[in-house]
Amino acid sequence: MMTDKMRKVLYHLYMGSFLFYLLVPLVIMSGAAFNNNKTPSVYPWKGFSWQWFIELWNDGTMWTSFGNTIWVALAVVALAVPLGTAGAILINSVTGMTRSVLYFFMVAPILAPGAVIGISTILFWNKLSVPVGLHLSVLGQVSYIAAFVMLLVLARLQSFDQNLEEAALDLGATHNQVLRRILLPHLYPAIGAGAAIAFFQSIENFNVTLFTRGTQNTLTVYVFSKVRSGITPSINALAFMLIALTLIAALVYELRRRRQAALEAAREEEGRRASDAEIA
């Protein structure tokens, strides 16, 4: 019979090895960026070197792809956020069959294979004589990324007290003011999270982009083509920098979130104390 203590130890061990499994590949990949070896590897170790970072710095195609990735991602955010938010507000105000149908069409692209989204996008816009290129990558990505924004905003809407809007109307606010001063401020956290997710989803996107990009490169496509055609560890140098950047961004975000949560908790605690004092 296994005791509770043994079981707990086993769980901790398993969690530890799971984290090891998740993180070690990334460490190995980052490590290969510093190995003075022509093919990307940590084994055998041939000495520490910055040369792959220098090679990366001088890689013009990489920089073009990087620039493309950023502008595609920004364009996706600029489209997906208003579309997803409008979709969420609309779907939140209808019920029954209409809601189910709308919901199905909005959410279905999340589950559809990216390749199919990419192909249907170029076929449709080709019929309207729009040539392939990154602009189609943007439209293809938005079709499913807007659904992420919609789901986040919809969840946030469900915690929204509609009395607030009526109160504002009653106090003389116009429709625009109700949206700007009451609803949007409530939705900002979800919209912000939605924008961040849209940005990262777009940067990550490979399947849709591959079929819609024409001859232009994004970073993911570029990495992919390098892996297939001869690689040098400059890819690892790129990977290391991307991992470092996202880690820092995530850390900053998490710290900010925790500070905000602590502030809110302190306020509520003060309110509770005031209530208790009032009753006593």
């Binding site: 105000s93 294979p113 076929l123 079709s143 807007a146 429709h175 591959l210 993911t220 992919f224």
Partner: protein, 311 residues
């Protein structure tokens, strides 16, 4: 809808409808109709488009059933068209990936939801999220480095005496798809873990203790209490992992060999290498059909709704 008008007035309500309409119509519904329509037309040189040869037919779909080859399924030696073989392999190994991901992530989900001190959970989740912030291409690439002939995995295994000599993982050891399955599991396991974890957090811990108090052994507690409660999460995770695995192009191309074909690669060859968009459309449509069948099948099996899966 009347509520919307009352709160935001005609102009804003109109804007909401217009934006949503653009999204649904121009980005989702019409492109899929275009896909459907294109798949029934022949692949023609530009001059013949709209000419007498441009008629609807199922010829593109027929290509799926051309050039049969031998394949063994559960010991049966069958003659199956090559593309259908790829299709079957893709579905089969995607299911394997889904099952493996479930088996490995279930204990972690339970650990996070019910075992570990709640104070450590945010930190652990932050750590688990790290791979998700790294692009899929790089994650596949990481395993490419690990699995190469002279890579660290072989070095460790040979060094420990587990293997006599280095193995070509990408050529396959047990099956032709070993490296692909390893890469897919690594890439998508978190899409299984988090939905299950979310479902488990809503389980009242008292139920687990009550079951134990009534004498249920751990495995029975899981089977009768935890597992049924996590059902929506498992359904959601399974659908996500299966779709992502079946739809992946990066991992099979990076980690596969000439002996392993993924159906997305078949589509890619038709679209980008042969530039035959019509056949590509037909394959894509078949693929979409498969996805729909899987999603609705799982929804029926687990008795969950679409809103439980897409979260």
């Amino acid at each position: 809808m009347g509520e919307l008008l009352k709160r935001y007035g005609g102009t804003l309500t109109g804007a909401f409808i217009l934006l949503t309409g653009f999204w649904l119509l121009m980005l989702i519904i019409l492109p899929n109709l275009a896909l459907f329509e294109t798949s029934f037309r022949p692949y023609l040189p530009v001059v013949d488009m709209g000419g007498p040869l441009d008629t609807y037919s199922v010829n593109n779909y027929a290509k799926f059933f051309e050039s049969p080859g031998p394949m063994s399924i559960f010991g049966l030696e069958l003659s199956i068209p090559l593309r259908a073989q790829t299709f079957i392999n893709t579905v089969f190994y995607s299911i394997i990936v889904t099952v493996v991901a479930f088996v490995f992530s279930y204990p972690i989900a339970f650990y996070l939801a019910k075992v570990v001190r709640p104070k450590s959970v945010p930190t652990l989740i932050l750590l688990l999220f790290i791979p998700l912030w790294v692009s899929e291409a790089l994650r596949a690439f990481a395993w490419y480095i690990i699995l190469t002939l002279n890579g660290p995995l072989n070095a460790v295994l040979v060094g420990m005496g587990v293997l006599e000599k280095a193995v070509r993982w990408q050529q396959g050891v047990l099956t032709n798809y070993d490296a692909i399955v390893i890469g897919l599991v690594y890439n998508y396991i978190l899409f299984m873990l988090f939905p299950i974890y979310n479902a488990m957090t809503s389980l009242d811990s008292n139920q687990i203790e009550a079951a134990q108090d009534l004498g249920a052994p751990a495995w029975k507690t899981h089977l009768r209490i935890v597992l049924p409660h996590s059902k929506p999460g498992i359904a959601s995770g399974s659908v996500m992992v299966f779709m992502l695995a079946a739809g992946s192009l990066l991992v099979p191309t990076t980690l596969g060999s000439t002996r392993s074909n993924w159906f997305t690669q078949t589509i890619q060859q038709a679209m980008l290498e042969s530039q035959d968009w019509n056949t590509g459309a037909a394959y894509s449509f078949l693929y979409l059909l498969l996805c729909t069948v899987v999603v609705f099948g799982v929804m029926r099996l687990f008795k969950v709704r679409l809103s439980d899966i897409a979260r």
